[in-house]
Subunit: 181 residues, 2 copies
């Protein structure tokens, strides 16, 4: 299956505003609570999305176009956001994510990719050959995986409060945790 | 655990705008695709949330306050939206959800609930005694369960497109499906 780039971009372009609408000025009970030791808060997720914008998607796409399979992507540091985010507020991070995502989508447009470009290959440090189309699809699903995580970790805060209804609420049964990207 | 009602309302009040930001004018590829036979689309989810506003949360809260455990809630029809939604567009449903949610939060405020009220009990057709606090917590987590489902069903559309990255994307491993409410 090959992606339709306009559909991918339609989704990518909405994520910062979606997170902003959900999280800005929400009580810290929701935005600064996690799912237990070693898990993330909403604040951590937004920092992670910013970090991925800087180090993952467009840098890797550019590497595919310039070097093909001859250079291997740098491994992505899933916790790379922690140090940079700590001194900031959630509203600052939401603004920063919106800015860097818009810049990256502008860079993507400037690449003027045509459908055959999506079959061009790069080299992932763990998977070996991957295509540009797979990378761009992963960019979009990575947004969704963190929206999914966000809804789950927020729901977790009310795990006991819902009482017997917990058995009916799918989000409280979710074990779809991410590993890396 | 007892909920803080202002935190619950902060979340409930954001859901319509969050879904509107994510879904309005998004290509139908994302909004009208499901996860396979018998599963829902984004369109179905918004219709379901509207249906729950009309038949579940405030009607049940009112029944608790008026009748306590002496009356049993009417069972909630999870697929009650289908007939009413079919003739409408997604933008119409998003508008309708925003309106009915705002009306219901206005009704909730008018109840002027105090912390002890959250311990008042009603009778659920399957669970037996439940508290008003549990019902209101479930209202919020029900929003999150459908945001969770939405991110999962959208990600499902790119399950093949992401290629080998699927193993890293938690949303593609999720089995946290809902049953009823």
């Amino acid at each position: 299956m090959q992606i339709d780039l306009s559909q991918t971009v339609a989704l990518l372009s909405r994520t910062p505003a979606t997170l902003n609408t959900l999280l800005r000025d929400l009580p810290e009970f929701w935005t600064h609570s996690d799912e237990g030791s070693g898990t993330w808060t909403a604040f951590d997720i937004v920092g992670h999305l910013i970090h991925a914008e800087h180090t993952d998607w467009i840098p890797r796409a550019t590497m595919i176009l310039q070097h093909g399979e001859s250079q291997t992507f740098k491994p992505f540091n899933r916790a790379g956001q922690n140090e940079k985010s700590q001194s900031k507020s959630l509203p600052q991070l939401l603004d920063e994510f919106a800015t860097v995502r818009a810049e990256n989508l502008s860079e993507l447009r400037a690449l003027n990719l045509q459908p055959p470009d999506l079959d061009r290959r790069g080299r992932h440090p763990a998977f070996g050959p991957v295509t540009l189309g797979q990378l761009l699809a992963t960019w979009a699903v990575h947004d969704l995986t963190h929206l999914h995580q966000l809804s789950r970790l927020m729901a977790h805060q009310y795990r006991e409060a819902v009482g017997p209804w917990s058995v009916y609420l799918g989000v409280l049964q979710c074990a779809g945790h991410s590993s890396a990207a």
